[in-house]
Amino acid sequence: MRYTLILGFILFMIGLWAMLTRKNLFKIVIGFSIIDTGVHLIIVTIGYLSGKTAPILDKLVTPANAVQKVVDPIPSALVLTAIVIGLAVTALMLSYVVRLYKRRKSLSIEDYRELKW
């Protein structure tokens, strides 16, 4: 599934583009979460084995043939963690945005640069 791999990287780059060019704090956070989605897609793709099924035992996947039939469970486990962490970071970023806006009434990152040099 090289397509999903490439798709992941495309999303990554689009997110990066947003982080680099959008002035709006919201857009920057959105860019970040798009990057996250892209990376998650990449991770899941790495775990995929073509033609295999989910790593859950049922009628078709028996203990005897499980090793031959399922995809790699590790990346799935990692992505679960990564998704939750992504949510945590996003929520925190948004809280910052809300607080910043409350203080200065501006969503433009250019208005927050008096700290420098």
Binding site: M1, R2, L5, I6, F9, M13, L16, W17, L20, T21, I42, T45, I46, Y48, L49, S50, G51, A54, P55, I56, L57, D58, P63, A66, V67, Q68, V70, D72, P73, I74, S76, A77, L78, L80, T81, V84, I85, L87, A88, V89, A91, L92, L94, S95, Y96, V98, R99
Partner: protein, 231 residues
């Protein structure tokens, strides 16, 4: 304009650099040693039908504990930033209350959704889903209430108790593994049961349930804070 150009160059160069990630990756068609080991062990040693759950709760249990902690931190962080201190006055919302139908519908759906969430994490070791997914569903039940009733206030005491105790029990179960079997987060101190039934996989369903409760209450808390509730 120069900066825009620079950004374009940076992105192009990054794509060039990342090309090996896209091009040189040889997509495999069989499990590597580690993951086939996981598959075998989760069947034979843990009796867990959902191998991802086995990995998440047992083999990489420390990650999951960390993950719950990350959510916990986010709850605290969002709370620190957005919750109003007690007594801090807020403008009364002038929004129109939701219609009666929505309110009734919500209060009817609420217990059902909660039940569904519980079902998901109780069966985490058998079917797709588990603590996190179940937790989100529980949180969405609360969201339903929040949306349908503007002035709805969580019963924070209950939420705190659920959040605190489920987290503490999670750690406690891990500790039991350490005390009884010599390693932290070892779920085998409960009978393993037969593969594919509800009461199997040792303490895995129990742990996942606590994770579900913990995640559910944490997410509800985050939503509550985002809404701007009092502490």
């Amino acid at each position: 304009m120069i900066k825009r150009l620079l950004i374009i160059v940076v992105i192009i160069l990054l794509i060039v650099i990342f090309l090996p990630f896209m091009k040189n990756v040889i997509l495999k068609d069989s499990l590597n040693e580690l993951s086939s080991g996981y598959v075998e062990k989760s069947v034979s040693d843990l009796k867990t039908a959902n191998i991802v759950t086995a990995v998440v709760v047992t083999f990489r249990g420390l990650d999951t504990l960390g993950e719950v902690t990350v959510l916990f931190i986010a709850t605290a962080g969002v709370g620190l930033l957005l919750k109003r201190k007690k007594g801090e006055k807020s403008k009364k919302s002038d929004k129109r209350p939701a219609s009666e139908i929505l309110q009734t519908g919500a209060s009817f759906l609420f217990p059902l959704t909660i039940l569904f969430g519980v079902y998901i994490f109780l069966h985490g070791h058998l079917t797709p889903g588990g603590g996190f997914q179940g937790g989100v569903i529980i949180a969405s039940a609360f969201l339903l209430l929040l949306l349908s009733n503007i002035n709805f206030q969580f019963n924070h005491t209950v939420l705190h108790w659920v959040e605190s105790l489920s987290g503490a029990f999670y750690v406690l179960l891990g500790l039991l593994g350490l005390i009884l079997l010599g390693s932290f987060l070892n779920p085998k101190f409960l009978p393993l049961g037969t593969l594919g039934t509800l009461f199997s996989a040792g303490a895995v369903p129990l742990i996942y349930s606590f994770i579900g409760l913990k995640v559910g209450s944490e997410l509800s808390n985050i939503l509550d804070s985002m809404r701007g509730a009092e502490e």
